[in-house]
């Protein structure tokens, strides 16, 4: 039972980590606090559901559609809706307020569209719904796949950002946007790509979630919230921090739900969150700047 619980916790944690990495890229590099982030996740979950139930497409294949679509749509949203805000903003603080308000509106638009098409019911579909034996405990194959996907995507992103010149340039923009042009980086373009990359991660996360969880058109907010908590726990803009904090949060939630009470999971999450905010405001893995 403990092995199953830990693996389930890692699955949830891996998903959280993946989601948080996307959000931390959007916020850390593009400087957009995207409140519609969770809606992007749920939209991708619906995409995987529709493709699976109508055409019988496996979620693993849906990823090939969801990731580019998430990238393209986020790129478009940035260009049409957020870039004008960036251009007229006088500083980081005013952009923060503007982007929060604008994406707050976007949240309801996307959610409204999904409610019209799918209603407010809980949705799920069956995919790889059989047990795999690990150390004598049975773990659902779809959860195991979700964990592997989260690790592969998260690890891939980490390598992209730390081992390539392009990724290093993105991190440079997150560290000192005003210095980026000094080395020939078009900071504006970098921000647009970072926002799109974050969107692609959100849609990947959405497909992964749909493989093992039920969801509704209005559950996006919860995912935005969880991702935000993980980002803050890990230290804003810190990828390795997001990864570890995500895994930690998933483990804590699952352990509390199994051994204490399912009703206390959110309470446990906020208890940790509050503690970190009080004693380590720059995050568990954040560096004092």
């Amino acid at each position: 039972m403990l092995v199953t619980t830990i693996i389930n916790g890692l699955v949830l944690g891996g998903t959280y980590a993946l989601l948080a990495m996307g959000l931390t890229i959007q916020y850390g590099i593009a400087r957009i606090m995207n409140l519609a982030y969770g809606e992007t996740i749920i939209a991708a979950a619906f995409l995987a559901f529709v493709l699976n139930s109508t055409l019988g497409v496996a979620p693993l294949v849906s990823l090939l559609v969801a990731a580019p679509a998430g990238f393209a749509l986020s790129y478009l949203i940035y260009g049409l809706m957020l870039h004008p805000l960036v251009k007229r903003s006088k500083g980081r603080a005013s952009l923060e307020v503007d982007s929060i308000l604008a994406t707050f509106g976007l949240l309801f638009v996307i959610q409204g569209v999904m409610l019209v098409f799918f209603g407010g019911n809980y949705i799920s579909y069956t995919y790889m719904n059989f047990g795999i034996d690990i150390l004598g405990s049975s773990v659902a194959a779809n959860r195991l796949t979700a964990l592997i996907l989260a690790l592969v995507l998260g690890g891939g992103l980490y390598l992209l950002l730390t081992r390539t010149l392009w990724g290093t340039a993105l991190r440079a923009v997150s560290v000192a946007p005003q210095s980026a042009p000094l080395v020939g980086i078009d900071a504006d373009r970098a921000a647009r790509f970072a926002f799109a990359l974050g969107g692609a991660l959100a849609t990947c996360g959405g497909v992964v979630i749909s493989m093992y969880q039920t969801f509704t058109a209005s559950s996006g907010v919860i995912f935005t919230m969880k991702a935000l908590i993980v980002v803050i726990l890990g230290g804003v803009g810190n990828l390795a921090g997001a990864l570890s904090a995500g895994l930690l949060l998933g483990l804590v939630e699952t352990l509390v739900a199994t051994y204490v009470s399912p009703g206390l999971t959110l309470a446990a999450v906020y208890f940790i969150f509050l503690g970190v905010l009080l004693w380590r405001p720059s995050g568990l893995f954040g560096r004092a700047r």
């Binding site: 290093t168 210095s179 000094l182 080395v183 020939g184």
Partner: protein
């Protein structure tokens, strides 16, 4: 090579530069002298494309007009700026900072060779290459900033107060590095508070006062100029 004509810069109502014209020839080292607030930094920033000059100004590198184009394209054209305060990426390592220096397309092919040159110029950076630059001393950070600018293989290197806040030993090291850069044939445009040292390095100089050009000449003639001596070389008391 670099031609700046009738350059004016203002921030809102505050006028920083009025009608300034300067030239830097290929391989030449030019120093800009002036008191605090004379507009020296504004001049470099306007050339680098970081601030927009007033209409009517002309900035050109080898007759290629640069007026009004964004900073990242000015770098691509061959002008690198080491700004006051260095502007390095504190959370990244030395080698990551240098890698980014060669981010410009013009510099990518030559990056390995230029990195060797930078490490030759600043051997201390070799042992520190995996260190986060925020944890390094001011002098070492300045080396990273200059090294990063050199990585873009610029035709003109502009430096804004490179010796500001450095220990005297480091200032000496810095200027001997700048001399080597100059001997390698790179054009330099320097704003510097150690006037004596920068006049030793430079071929020519300009004097800015309250945003206007009030004098220019060869380094030797500026060194002998009584106005320069009184204002910048602290000779009034000795005389």
């Amino acid at each position: 090579m670099l031609d700046v004509a009738r350059l004016s810069v203002s921030y809102g109502k505050h006028v920083a530069l009025t009608d300034v014209s300067i030239r830097v020839a290929t391989g030449e080292a030019v120093v800009i002298l002036g008191a605090n607030g004379a507009g020296k930094s504004s001049l470099l920033k306007a050339i680098a494309g970081l601030v927009q000059p007033a209409p009517g100004a002309g900035v050109a590198l080898d007759d290629k007009p640069l007026t009004g184009i964004p900073a990242h394209e000015v770098l691509e054209a061959g002008i690198a700026l080491v700004p006051e305060g260095r502007g390095i990426f504190g959370d990244l390592t030395v080698s990551e900072n240098l890698d980014l220096g060669a981010y410009a397309h013009r510099a990518r092919k030559e990056a390995p060779r230029n990195r060797d040159l930078v490490y030759q110029l600043f051997p201390r950076l070799v042992e520190r290459r995996h260190q986060r630059v925020a944890t390094m001393s001011g002098g070492e950070q300045q080396m990273v900033a200059i090294g990063r600018a050199l990585m873009s293989a610029p035709r003109l290197l502009m430096l804004d107060e490179p010796s500001l806040g450095l220990a005297p030993v480091m200032v000496g090291e810095l200027f001997s590095a700048l001399k080597q850069i100059r001997h390698a044939g790179m054009a330099l445009l320097i704003v510097e508070q150690s006037v004596r040292k920068s006049l030793d390095l430079a071929d020519r100089g300009y004097v800015l006062e309250a945003g206007r050009m009030v004098g220019n000449g060869t380094a030797a003639s500026l060194r002998e100029d009584p106005v320069v001596q009184r204002a910048f070389l602290g000779m009034a008391a000795d005389a």
